[in-house]
Symmetry: C2
Subunit: 343 residues, 2 copies
């Protein structure tokens, strides 16, 4: 099946009407047309898009295809009472684009599987699509298909991003070697610190003061440059927190790491641009900055494009991940950092 | 994020624990290991699979990539009390593979985004994966990644299949021309007729007597041969019923059609191999047979591999889709056929 075919398919929650093709809250043709109008310029890489059984994509000669999928569920990855629909759409896609950035690749096409409750206002879907398509346009990628269905409970979106990278230039998690230095792009902890404000205050916070949480920008340009110039030996995007994602690099590479607390670039949030607690920077997810390692012989610039690069430590032999505090003491860095914040 | 990373991510339903990384019902490492063990032979097309930010796929020179996504939701596409887990896994993947078949393509890799309720028994997931991976193996395709999350209500799976087709040989829905003959593979209506037994009897029916519903086989070989020999001018898989899917071919091609009721191959179901009501064959979804058109000058064989091919009508000028009954009378074929079965 294919994009918006789902709205014509056999849908319903009750046994009697299970196989009944019934009228749906969002008229199929109108929705397809509205989305087609919004799609903007066609991509040379998308040979056939919405309106067939599959999308047909052109992959450049000598390039390999990259594929990543990310689920976003209401109540788990976002809450409708906290997040404006544009932010939900933006964040859905940002997760997928960030995975492409973490391979050093270029996104080609996006696919969206979207299930919404029958009673959801159409304007919510429109604004969700606006947020998603605005980020797609800024990343130079088109929405090329997907699927839709009526959800029994809550909004759920699965985003698939297909990209490409020159053969052999994709940066894996498994390439870190002892002696490599560890770097991160941008600042860390801003997204998680904003999220903790939600939990404490139990009310909305203004999205424009907390862009790291509501509208995080995947580091596509930095990823491309790190791959093109063969600077990075391994790379991952920080989606689940530095401590967790650094552990992933170490496990896949069979190495350890030592980082320095004072070197971690801490985000500033809110109107007052207050620096966040360093624990958010160590353990907070959803920043979508890049964490990468570079061989000692390579020079890493202080900025790539607009984005500052910070060196935070180095890769070691062994398996342990250690952190050095301000007094020079070393302790093990647990990936379960969020436990500290449990109420 | 990437396959099984979801199980380490910030998950939970309640605001307080929203950002808390907590113990999960399915231990991540064990699940990854169990699935890795089950994956069987590696594919040459999958350069890097589970365990990085993206899967890296090799697309053969001169080929284009095909991408399709299909949502399967509990209560909408399946019911846990009716469908054995192996059937749910099989049917999820069958939908995606059938889309690749309908383009005349070859599947390369499968991605599964799976959200399950916290209380779901682990054995259900195991058996679901068994059904999915058994079909994958028989289609010569590997599971190369995906995402997981805890679902607030019911099981939901989004399947992505990536395939390839020789450049320019993908068969679109839009290529039907007046005078082309209309064909279908196999027999129609078996899946929907079995489904109506569920609704009437409200109890399980034995899967082995109703393979069309529980274990439909996507027509990959037939699709490949139709594309390779350039026999088909347009093609679609019958996922929502002949009347709906024929309308899609006609709309995308800007043509009409005339089919003959007596020529429609009607499925036989149950232990007694009873033929189903022709209305199931006309309007019933989920058969995953192929519907295709061929230019009048081309000869279509009576079988392709194991699968019989039936000629059921021809493409006409204009927009109408007509059906000729046994007495020669012509009437319009409505795509809303399932309304007749509403109780």
């Amino acid at each position: 099946m294919y994009f918006w075919d789902g709205l014509l398919g056999p849908v319903s929650g009750t046994p009697d009407s299970y196989i009944v093709d019934r009228a749906l809250p969002l008229p199929e043709r109108a929705l397809i047309e509205r989305i087609r109008r919004r799609l903007g310029r066609r991509s040379l890489a998308v040979v056939a898009g919405i309106g067939d059984d599959c999308a047909v994509l052109r992959v450049r000669p000598g390039h390999q295809a990259l594929v990543t999928t990310d689920l976003s569920l209401e109540g788990i990855h976002f809450r409708r009472e906290w997040h404006p629909p544009e932010s939900v759409g933006h964040r859905c896609l940002a997760r997928g684009l960030s995975d492409i950035a973490a391979m050093g690749g270029e996104p080609i096409a996006v696919f969206l599987s979207l299930a919404v409750p029958g009673k959801l206002p159409q304007s919510w879907v429109d604004r969700f699509m606006d947020g998603l398509l605005r980020l797609a346009a800024s990343a130079g990628v088109v929405l090329a298909g997907g699927d839709t269905a009526e959800s029994p409970a809550g909004v759920l979106a699965d985003i698939v991003v297909v990209g490409s990278v020159a053969g052999g230039k994709g940066i894996l998690r498994s390439g870190a070697r002892p002696g490599d230095r560890i770097h991160v792009t941008g600042e860390l902890g801003g997204a998680a610190a904003a999220l903790s404000l939600f939990s404490k205050r139990r009310k909305r916070i203004p999205p424009k003061d907390y862009p790291q949480h509501f509208f995080p920008m995947p580091r596509l340009e930095a990823g491309r440059i790190l791959s093109g110039q063969r600077l990075a030996s391994s790379m991952i995007d920080i989606s689940d927190g530095l401590s967790t994602d650094l552990r992933r690099i170490c496990e896949e590479s069979g190495v350890g790491a030592e980082i320095e607390k004072a070197l971690i670039p801490v985000a500033r949030i809110g109107r007052a641009r207050q620096p966040v607690d360093v624990r958010f920077a160590l353990h907070g997810g959803e920043d979508y900055e890049l964490l990468f390692t570079t061989p000692a012989a390579k020079r890493v610039p202080a900025r790539i494009g607009e984005v500052p690069i910070a060196e935070i430590g180095c890769i070691t032999r062994g398996k342990k991940i250690l952190i050095r505090n301000a007094h020079g003491g070393l302790s093990e860095l647990s990936p379960q950092g969020w436990e500290h914040f449990r109420t």
